[in-house]
Symmetry: C2
Subunit: 492 residues, 2 copies
Amino acid sequence: MVHSEQEQQVERWGMLELACPGPAAGNPFADCELFADFRHGGRTVRVRGFYDGGGVYKLRFMPDAVGEWSFVTRSSSPELDGIAGSFRCTQPSPGNRGPVRVRDEYRFAYEDGTPYVPVGTTCYAWTHQSEALQRQTLDTLRSAPFNKIRMCLFPKKYSFNSVEPDLFPFSGNREAGFDWSRFNPAYFSRLEERLRELQELGIEADLILFHPYDKGHWGFDAMDSEADDRYVRYVVSRLAAFRNVWWSLANEYDFMKAKTMSDWDRLFRLVQQEDPYGHLRSIHNGTGMYDPESVVMYDHAKPWVTHCSIQHWDVNLTPVWHRLYRKPIVIDECCYEGNVPQRWGNITAEEMTRRFWDAAARGGYAGHGETYLHPEDEIWWAKGGRLYGDSPARIAFLRRVLEAAPEGCRPIPAFRDVPTIGVPGEYYLLYFGIHRPAYRMIELPPDVSFQAEILDTWEMTATPLEGRLTGSCRIELPGKPYLALRIYRSEA
Amino acid sequence: MVHSEQEQQVERWGMLELACPGPAAGNPFADCELFADFRHGGRTVRVRGFYDGGGVYKLRFMPDAVGEWSFVTRSSSPELDGIAGSFRCTQPSPGNRGPVRVRDEYRFAYEDGTPYVPVGTTCYAWTHQSEALQRQTLDTLRSAPFNKIRMCLFPKKYSFNSVEPDLFPFSGNREAGFDWSRFNPAYFSRLEERLRELQELGIEADLILFHPYDKGHWGFDAMDSEADDRYVRYVVSRLAAFRNVWWSLANEYDFMKAKTMSDWDRLFRLVQQEDPYGHLRSIHNGTGMYDPESVVMYDHAKPWVTHCSIQHWDVNLTPVWHRLYRKPIVIDECCYEGNVPQRWGNITAEEMTRRFWDAAARGGYAGHGETYLHPEDEIWWAKGGRLYGDSPARIAFLRRVLEAAPEGCRPIPAFRDVPTIGVPGEYYLLYFGIHRPAYRMIELPPDVSFQAEILDTWEMTATPLEGRLTGSCRIELPGKPYLALRIYRSEA
């Protein structure tokens, strides 16, 4: 193993990478198993290594505790077996707050305890585009409000997305066929560069392991279960040590006719077993649960599902999903801002913004996507590139509001027909959506003094109400849609 | 019976009324049963009579077939028993098309076969207001687009509706108490005048028999089952001969805690049994079927339910209800245009109009209501009066479009993600709603020539597309919400 005499240092939730030459004959992806046991105090974490091509094997590890760690390798190949070493895990550098975890039924938090409010976007195939376009996507993300991105590992063949990519996860190509038992390290190496760049931008990579946008073009949606499992093990062994990785088992899993519910259960459990760090795991539906043509929804209550990743146009159903699944609700697709012919991709910026707010005010989280027609089909939702829409600025405004809210915000049913999150007695965020009452009675605790602001979520303004509020109050409203009311306990 | 020597004439679906003095002692409402058997050819229709006060008993009959009818009475009181007579039923006068019937799973029609497209509004308590306000309501309805009105028999105590009415269905008053075994003919007489006036305006009266807006104020929501049944029998005996009557068993039945599902079943069957004409029967929910707090929905598939009368904000669920119940879907409440504080009563005219169109384009029918704050609380939805909103003109536009469509329009799933009704090969009506595609591919039958118009459902304009369409066509669209596309077979 490449391991210098001087003790190596890795920050907490950073990545230790060990590389070692090993057998290159036969099929090293399939023939040689490599693990390492990392020890910290009395605890051992087993990590799978992987073959990276060119006769080199690698092991990656994300330490989660400060202090001394030691390791020793285990391998079916004698030259990779029994290699031992140690390193020191240091405090995380600023901005490194660890992987995102589920905090409770409603919320996420980084492992260091900092609340994480998911504000996601979707660029399914951005890493399969030209280098220049990938750069542009990263530049756009730099000033966009998003802290999560949904992206596919397999390339995508779909409307507005027909360019053949240059690199594939597997060895081979479409003409000659792919060898599902041999991976393509160059593909993964570029993807990992992207993951690091996203990490620097503070963006979680919601990695979609399977998807149906293939239909015989490459065959990645219809591999046999042995190939699926081998793929999952290889992906997890390479990527799990990135702290900003989430596992999305599939996009629109119910459109993948070659797989059954028990396949998804098996793949979920495999990811859970292979990932030493317990990154977030979800699966995303295609049909809606109330569509007449809908299949049965995947049961997000199953123990290996960490949170719900929903596709539905009606984010107001968030409380129904909470009741069913008791897990954080992310409505990753609720239609996209744009003007493509397809129904899911031609809502207005106003409507996209409304859906974000209506989800948030019910304790859920909507996801963004943008689908404006483009002369070169460079549409954000598929390829990344530039954003043209008007919703991202409003989503940034929402993110600021949510991040400024006190910890522990959750739905407050007492406000009945105005969806409200808050901390009783401290803070209330009410959202009126398309509704535009001329006034509203609000029941606040008596003997507590509150201040309030009317937020115009479209104009992105916060207008303080004069005076203090307490007990039962009548609040006059401007009588237009897309308003919110932010009420917080007065200091004095 | 008051019945002249000269043979009486009644038009088809008109009303024959027979009056006869009878016993006035004791409680004539409860003590004396009166029926008549009306005969036409080999057919007999049994009709219940009712006590109208002042020692007078009445029998009302709506003949449904032209020609000679005879009748004979049956009564527990000898002076009312065995009275016989006859009358001639003539052709209906213009505008009289008979009662509305369910035609098939999607549609209604008058009994003469003319299609009936329900375009309803809601004025729950309009007949409990001052004479002047009732007149104003009728004047408003004269130029409004509505051909159905939801209205309560019992008075209503609710927000914006606290004036004590002058007349009640029962004998008595709030202070002294009501005698549930004695009815108030003056109340019914005025109501019947209103029914006749609605009939002249071509408006169906969707009569709500029970509702929860009482809560101990008068007690009408918590009578015992004997009183409920007696009330239903009396109401049906008085009102069933009005051809424009529909029976809505209840509004927000699930908010009436004193009644169970089996009570509703019993009352439905009682109405069905008592009404010789089979007027339409429905029941209207309070909670939505997907609300977390929802009770189980009344099963509209039960045989005594003629059509669904739904409350839900999401009219796009119409296909779900069709699939569940296989009956025409009327979403009588899907929020109202207005600005009251309550969520159900403060949507914009644009949104009210959209809901009408989104329901219609899925083969359903939305209902209107208006809830603008008013200095004297004269709010249309409760009291009638004047309309102030901008949706009625748009609803009139929709009504003209639907009434101009060929018969047999029903949902056409082939257009996938644009809700479409039509007659394949002849006519298609596509509605884009909040969606605003820049263009749309439409698959029309080859070898058939079509013309098309873009309907701006808000601006109420129809802009013809140049040229003819056939086969697979690309249609450029203005890229704004609330557009429809009307495509029809070319004449030449």
